[in-house]
Amino acid sequence: MPHDSTDEVLLRRFVAGQREALGELAQRYELHLLGLARGMLGGRDDLACDAVQETWMRVIRYGASFNGRSSFRTWLYRILINRCRSTRKNEGRRPKSRQADPPQEAGQSPAATASPDEDNRELHAAVAQLAAAKREVLLLCYHADLTHEQAAKILRIPPGTLKSRLHAALEELRKRLATEGRS
């Protein structure tokens, strides 16, 4: 399979029955999706994996209904964000005792994850305290190589709105980090 096939072509091939096309799409996007999901789910790798898995399942299930009005990347990220929202909502409903352990880096032991990046944990906590709309804008705008325009399309908001939300989110984040730093 030629490597330079577009995402849409790969999706069509997969829908036509070429399973390996999904592997190629996963090769292109899975790491990015996992990273974004992890960021949106408070650094929880297990939840991130679940969200991404469900995203792929929806791609498999509804790939035939992809109408090409947006790019595959936009469609894929939209699915992931909805999965993350849903996961966050479900996690919020769960009793505290049944919630999973605190975030840890993939492949690392809890002991190892506790120490390495205290700042990251602070940042996670600060980001988690942001409103959902601001948090999503913030994470998408600093995720991989997504442009603001692409992020606006994924979130289905105008670019101007995105920029204002981003600005507000950064301001709020800085304030929170500064407050936490002083305390």
Partner: protein, 452 residues
């Protein structure tokens, strides 16, 4: 916050959404699920609904057209409708409303003396006597139950004349209810239901029809006859039939039509014939072609006439008395005189109405109605052609005829399809609109499904 701090924050944010370590390849887990396999295949309805609109509409139209053609070819209705359009039977004409004044009036019994002698004991309460002759007057006497609503089988000259009563499914059981409308006194079955369908009159073939339309015993009978025949020369028979009437006797052609040509020629006439000439006219009609069906009916209106005349005489007496009273009370108060005049006016109105009814009955009784249906005798043509031709000619003729018939059926099928398409246009448009709406909704639902 300085620029370094800013860059540092951005870097940390980027770090926040970056996955470290080996990818866990969750897509493989997603693929391995049962849902994955089913989902990758997708439902056939889903796929069809996802077709482009023109393709979807074209597919639906194609299916409809194929369905209509199949229906038109395989259902007998089209062929039947076609035959009926070309050769309407008496019952079809009757149902079409031509003689809808009264079904019993249309096909009331013919007052054969012999027949009445047999029928009277059975029809003492229903004076109408129905007959349905399934042949050209050479068939058996009271035959088995015929199938109403269908053309009677061609009479077989070889049938033994006057072979008496051949009982149908229930013999000469007296009909009840609706049967009496169509001479069910002789009808088999005896169950309730629409007269013509459920109370088939017994087939009666009479070698000679009674000459006396108004019987000597003073009965008043409205007579109707229907005769269906086939002949080589439909036009000739049509013209000859028109010449059978006698204007001097007050007879006339109520309506007549001649349509088609060749094998499709078809004629129908409604004659009003003086009752005393009915038998002669029917005999002459039988000479014009091969009779395929003959029906005679009569409605005994003697009771009505007697009743009407008695009431009329009574009203006339009342009128006379009132006039005498008015003459003798010239000095009576004005109010009484006016009341008396009103009463006289009412009585005169009644007398006029009854007189008109009596005259109408008299007209109906004096002129019998004869419905004559003539169609082309294609079987005779075929037989002649078969006997005169060589095998090769016959084969060629058959192929040609089959070709023509096939084309006719094709034309009928196309006409039927066009009729359904045009006639049901509004429904097709609505159906297509509903389909497109369903498709639109399905697509919307599908597009939103991954995000749920």
């Amino acid at each position: 916050m300085t620029g370094n701090q800013m860059n540092n924050l951005e870097g940390r944010l980027r770090e926040l959404t970056t996955w470290h370590g080996e990818p866990p390849e969750v897509w493989k887990r997603a693929m391995s699920g049962d849902q994955a396999g089913a989902a990758a295949r997708g439902g056939i309805i889903l796929r069809i609904l996802n077709w482009p609109a023109p393709r979807l509409v074209a597919a639906c139209l194609g299916l409809i057209v194929i369905g209509l053609i199949a229906v038109s070819i395989f259902s007998g209705d089209l062929g039947k409708a076609r035959d009926q359009a070309r050769y309407p039977t008496a019952s079809a004409l009757q149902q079409s409303g031509r003689n809808q004044r009264n079904l019993a009036e249309a096909y009331a019994a013919y007052p054969s003396n012999a027949l009445r002698a047999q029928a009277r004991p059975l029809t003492s309460r229903t004076p109408r006597v129905g007959t349905d002759m399934g042949g050209s007057g050479l068939g058996s006497g009271l035959g088995g139950a015929s199938v109403p609503g269908r053309r009677q089988p061609t009479g077989r000259p070889g049938s033994p004349p006057g072979s008496g009563i051949v009982a149908g499914s229930s013999g000469l059981s007296g009909g009840t209810g609706a049967h009496s409308r169509l001479g069910s006194g002789l009808g088999g079955g005896g169950t309730s239901g629409p007269a013509e369908r459920t109370a088939p009159p017994l087939m009666i073939a009479q070698p000679d029809l009674p000459p006396d339309a108004i019987p000597p015993d003073g009965r008043h009978v409205i007579q109707k006859a229907t005769i269906e025949m086939k002949t080589d020369d439909v036009r000739g028979a049509f013209l000859k039939t028109q010449h059978l009437i006698s204007a001097a006797s007050g007879e006339y052609v109520e309506n007549s039509s001649l349509s088609g040509s060749g094998r499709d020629a078809y004629a129908s006439l409604t004659l009003r014939i003086a009752v005393d000439r009915l038998s002669d006219v029917l005999n002459e009609l039988r000479q014009l072609g091969e009779v395929t069906s003959e029906q005679l009916a009569g409605e005994d209106v003697t009771a009505q006439v007697v009743d009407l005349e008695a009431r009329l005489r009574n009203e006339q007496r009342v009128e006379t008395e009132l006039l005498e009273l008015l003459a003798s009370r010239e000095d009576a108060p004005l109010k009484d005189v006016l009341d008396l005049r009103n009463a006289i006016g009412q009585v005169r109105r009644n007398i006029e109405q009854m007189t008109a009814q009596r005259q109408r009955l008299g007209r109906l009784v004096s002129l019998a109605t004869v419905l004559v249906l003539i169609r082309h005798d294609s079987e005779a043509d075929d037989e002649r052609a078969t006997t005169d031709q060589t095998l090769g000619e016959y084969f060629g003729e058959s192929i040609g005829r089959s070709w023509t018939t096939g084309l006719q059926y094709l034309a009928d099928s196309i006409a039927f399809t066009v009729r359904m398409l045009i006639g049901g246009l509004i429904w097709w448009v609505l159906a297509i609109a509903a389909l497109l709406l369903a498709r639109h909704l399905a697509r919307r639902k599908l597009a939103a499904a991954p995000f749920r």
